[in-house]
């Protein structure tokens, strides 16, 4: 057994003698390090080393083992690992001339090929290991005669040199060679969860992101891991769609049973309230097998496979977490594709750390690779690479949230300011005989988007933090406010466009009525069309910049500099542009226009009035919506504005008993706003020694509830309360 473990691997040895400073392996008395593409193999070889069998090196095709005596085995063939047959073998010749075939692999691929050995004992041991969450492998061997070996060698040679269908031929040869084993034993490797993995998954679920686990492990191992990382909680009802169940009933029946179970409880809930943490009576977790998945995905002649897919997706939509085990890498990509093409077209993100995750990373919308022990394959193929799984939380909840808010505001603001810019020109055509006379001077036309209004929004897009980063990390549910592309929906776009049109109309007609048939100077002289246009333009630049100032939550010195600096730059530019007879210009129409405009009292009054009137609807909307229908983000912003620091949250112990509330106590939930939350929180503000209790930010309001669903506090999240 030990010999098998010592030989059947693809581990390389690195001698440690050129490291400056301490030798890495101080604890072990050997000075060699094992490296391999799979950390499991390294773990096994190191484990065997501690039991006395040390693998020394591979020299000249000879593998050397240090036991009580030095043994040398000639390495004849390596039948390398592949994820389809899930095993690997080596053929070695010992110094006594015996030819052995050692094989190591997943239990599902070894057990069918074993013909003797302590099969039942080992099988039960393997299952017990799996339930504890350990990764299991089985080891077997076979003794080959010289004749058998030469046959095998010839077949292998042919297959390796084949020009067509090499993969298939190799697979066939492997199949022929790896048979009739004698079972040696089983190994178990503990794959520890990364730190804070559970915390991250919980945060993602609270943020409304559905988390699915796709793994190649056995079902028991994977299920144990999921319990450990809090994907399944204690009161999650687990539904199984595994091969075992399908053997008992047909696929059809299983699917229908499951869908009935999940849909029974979710009929009264509106669909888009929760995709993760749900407050309804029961939340479900689904476990599905790789084989079951291939059955579901297999196209049937009678065309009912699409129904199966739809049904499967329906079940998945109502489960809070899904675990897919025994997945081949291509199946992982298949599932991602299935989700991508499902009805709501969600945005998918795949995160993995091994080479078997590469296809899934490539398939998803966003692929993230973890630079870890299993090499850099995943990181190389991904869109983003992070060193640890826990970094995903900050990446999505803080940086992703920030970037989304910034980009959506950037896009909307650009359209808004250009509508404000051009619409007065359009309106002017009605008054100039439709002759395409511009309202503004060409210098203003050119520089508007380049210098007068570009820097503030650029800075906003780089630096805006509508809520502080700490708050975002602490409150993952704030992410729901930007779910489903909320800030770039039609409604938001139409609001911005309406604002732009309203502002443009105010600018133009305000100036029009100011100028129409009146004199606005104190010496009776009259203004021309360029002065008119300059007035409109001045109001325009000030309004759009002040609108951005109203939208900015995070003021730093550089914000102030950019915003007020842009305005000052505009004024200085206008003064300079009109102050000199520029020789290179072939028209002097702007000469002294700006200064003349500023010398007239009504022009000043008009500018102030028009700026105020254009900004009024936006301010009104903001204030009203914040007071009457605040979103969670806005509540946090209000709370944090009142107390800058020292906010800590408590869950009052009283609510841990999960009382059942009737419908009169819950708030109505029209989609995003006024969400009810399952965790009751209280914010307290530490003021020196004493503390005072702040209003509950997420508290239940005493609003009248219209739906007939009953809500109750589920016990979820108890682990994080005080």
């Amino acid at each position: 057994f030990f010999r098998a473990l010592c030989l059947c691997h693809t581990v390389q040895v690195k001698d440690d003698d050129s490291v400056d400073g301490l030798k890495k392996n101080q604890l072990s008395r050997r000075s060699c390090i094992y490296i391999s593409s799979s950390p499991d193999e390294v773990a096994l070889v190191e484990g065997i080393q501690r039991l006395g069998y040390t693998y020394l090196r591979l020299k000249d095709n000879f593998m050397e083992i240090l036991n009580q005596e030095n043994n040398r085995f000639e390495l004849l063939e390596v039948l390398s690992f592949d994820s389809v047959r899930r095993r690997m073998s080596v053929i070695v010749k010992s110094s006594t001339g015996d030819i052995f075939l050692f094989c190591k692999g997943a239990d599902s691929s070894i057990f069918p090929r074993v013909k003797e050995g302590k099969i039942d004992q080992i099988r039960s041991r393997v299952e017990r290991n799996a339930v504890e969450g350990l990764r299991t492998l089985c080891v077997a061997y076979k003794k080959l005669t010289a004749e058998e070996y030469s046959n095998a060698q010839k077949l292998l040679q042919n297959a390796k040199l084949a020009l067509q269908d090499r993969e298939k031929k190799l697979a066939e040869v492997y199949e022929k060679i790896e048979r009739d084993f004698i079972l040696l034993g089983a190994t178990a490797v503990e794959d520890r969860l990364q730190e804070k993995a559970a915390d991250t998954i919980e945060a993602l679920q609270k943020a409304g992101i559905k988390v699915w686990v796709l793994t190649g492990d056995k079902m028991e191992t994977a299920a144990a891991t999921c319990y450990a990382c809090k994907l399944f909680r204690r009161n999650t009802q687990i539904l199984e769609l595994t091969t075992k169940k399908i053997e008992e009933q047909s696929l059809h029946d299983v699917l229908f049973d499951l869908s009935k179970t999940v849909l029974r409880h979710s009929g009264s809930l509106t669909r888009d309230t929760f995709s993760g943490l749900s407050t309804d009576m029961q939340d479900y977790g689904l476990i599905i097998d790789g084989a079951a998945l291939s059955l579901i995905m297999k196209p049937r002649q009678d065309g009912s496979s699409s129904n199966y897919r739809e049904l499967f997706l329906e079940i998945c939509r109502n489960c809070s977490a899904v675990l897919c085990c025994r997945m081949a890498p291509l199946q992982k990509a298949q599932i991602v594709k299935l989700i991508k093409l499902s009805k709501e077209h969600p945005i998918t993100l795949a995160i993995g750390d091994g080479a078997n995750d590469v296809s899934m990373i490539l398939e998803a919308h966003v692929g993230i690779g973890i630079i870890g022990k299993e090499g850099r394959q995943a990181a190389r193929n991904s869109d983003y690479a992070i060193p640890k799984f826990k970094h995903l939380k900050k990446m999505l909840l803080v940086h992703g949230h920030f970037y989304y808010v910034r980009i959506s505001e950037l896009v909307q603001y650009f359209f808004y300011k250009n509508v404000c810019f051009i619409f007065p020109q359009f309106l002017y055509q009605f008054f100039c005989g439709f002759s395409q006379q511009t309202l503004y001077d060409t210098a203003y036309l050119t520089l508007y988007n380049i210098s007068f209004t570009s820097l503030p929004i650029l800075l906003y897009g780089l630096m805006e933090q509508h809520v502080s980063a700490d708050t975002l990390k602490r409150e993952p549910s704030l992410y729901r406010d930007v779910a489903k592309n909320a800030l770039l929906r039609w409604r938001a776009f139409i609001y911005w466009t309406f604002l732009g049109v309203f502002d443009a109309v105010v600018f133009f007609f305000g100036a029009y009525f100011l100028f129409e048939n009146t004199i606005v100077t104190s010496n009776g002289q009259m203004f021309g069309n360029w002065t008119f246009g300059t007035l409109v333009f001045t109001v325009l630049v000030f309004t759009v910049t002040l609108k951005l100032a109203l939208d900015t939550h995070y003021w730093t010195w550089i914000n102030h500099f950019m915003i007020w600096g842009s305005l000052v730059f505009y004024i200085i530019f206008s003064l300079l542009w009109g102050g000199i007879i520029w020789p290179f210009l072939n028209y002097q129409r702007m000469y002294y226009v700006f200064m003349q405009m500023l010398s007239s009292g009504p022009a000043w009054l008009g500018i102030i009035l028009l700026i105020t009137v254009s900004l009024l609807p936006d301010v009104l909307k903001k204030v009203l919506c914040r007071q009457l229908w605040p979103t969670a983000t806005e509540r946090i912003q209000n709370a944090s504005r009142h107390c800058q620091e020292h906010i800590s949250e408590f869950t009052p112990l009283a609510c841990l008993k999960s009382p059942r509330y009737r419908s009169s106590d819950c708030s109505s939930s029209p989609a995003r706003r006024s969400n009810s939350h399952s965790k009751k929180m209280m914010f307290t503000h530490w003021r020196g020694v004493d503390y005072s209790v702040l209003p509950s930010v997420f508290g239940y309001s005493n609003k009248h509830c219209r739906s007939s669903a009953g809500y109750h506090y589920s016990g979820s999240g108890l682990e994080t309360s005080v």
Partner: protein, 286 residues
């Protein structure tokens, strides 16, 4: 404000309605009007035009600012923008362009009727254009001698003008390009209904109003035909304060916006009080 286009057959200027720009002798008409209240302080006299698109794109670009600035090379070679009013019979036009060509050339005179005697009212024609326009932007072509006729040698008058540019006024500092009426006209108006400053009536002394209430008569030398494009002409007398002329818009707008803001302030205060307190009650279940 007196409209003197003369479309109405009963108007005294009806006979001048279809006059052309170069008819001699110029058609004159007289309109009598009454001032209800006397006008204190400086009074400004404007002429106003309607339906006249001085802001048409082709019209606005049809000028040569360097020629008007006194550049000698542009004087004899005006820019292409002035087409088709650039040259006339192979001689360059000074000032070129459609804006200059359509200069307003009615003459308005004001008389006070005091018991059958007509007392002319002194109209001042200086100070009606922007100071920077008259002194910096518009300059006569440079050369030796004060004889403007010689300086404008080689150019011809615009097509629709009765007199060439160097004969616009006898005074040398209001002649040529720096004639104030010309400068005022060259500043294109923003809207199709506009008014331009024509003359000033200065305040005599603090005791008497500048224009007493009573009967007045306006004598018009009707040279400028507007009937062909349904335009209208009028004369406006106005006093000016620091805020400009009569302009109800600003006052009404401020009052409206102010009252809306006040109203909204009250409403939002109520809402804030009512709904802001919603969050302050601690909802601790028992």
């Amino acid at each position: 404000q007196i409209d003197y286009t003369g479309t109405d057959p009963s108007s005294p200027c009806n006979k001048c309605l279809n006059v052309s720009w170069d008819s001699t002798p110029p058609c004159t008409c007289t309109i009598n009007f009454t001032l209800e209240h006397s006008f204190e302080s400086n009074v400004f006299m404007y002429y106003g035009l309607s339906n006249f698109y001085q802001n048409h794109r082709r019209y606005v670009k049809s000028r040569d600012d360097s020629q008007l600035n006194g550049d000698n090379s542009s004087l004899l070679n005006p820019s292409k923008e002035c087409e088709p009013y650039r040259t006339n019979e192979d001689k360059p036009i000074a000032p070129c362009g459609a804006i200059a060509n359509s200069m307003f050339n009615d003459t308005l005179e004001l008389y006070r009727i005091d018991n059958d005697t007509r007392i002319p009212i002194t109209l001042i024609k200086k100070g009606i254009a922007w100071w920077t326009d008259k002194n910096v932007k518009f300059r006569n072509p440079t050369g030796d001698g004060n004889n403007l006729t010689a300086l404008f040698q080689g150019t011809t008058k615009p097509v629709n003008w009765p007199k060439p540019v160097y004969m616009l006024d006898s005074e040398p500092d209001n002649n040529g390009f720096i004639n104030e009426d010309f400068i005022v006209w060259m500043r294109t108006a923003a809207l199709p209904t506009f008014r331009k400053l024509y003359r000033l009536i200065e305040r005599k002394d603090n005791l008497q109003p500048t224009l007493q209430a009573g009967k007045y008569s306006l004598e018009i030398a009707y040279n400028y035909p507007v009937h062909s494009f349904d335009g209208r002409k009028r004369m406006i007398l106005s006093t000016i304060s620091w805020m400009g002329g009569k302009n109800p818009f600003l006052g009404i707008a401020y009052i409206t916006v102010g009252s809306i803001c006040f109203f909204l302030g009250v409403v939002l205060l109520i809402i804030h009080h009512k709904y802001g307190n919603r969050n302050t009650s601690a909802d601790i279940p028992n």
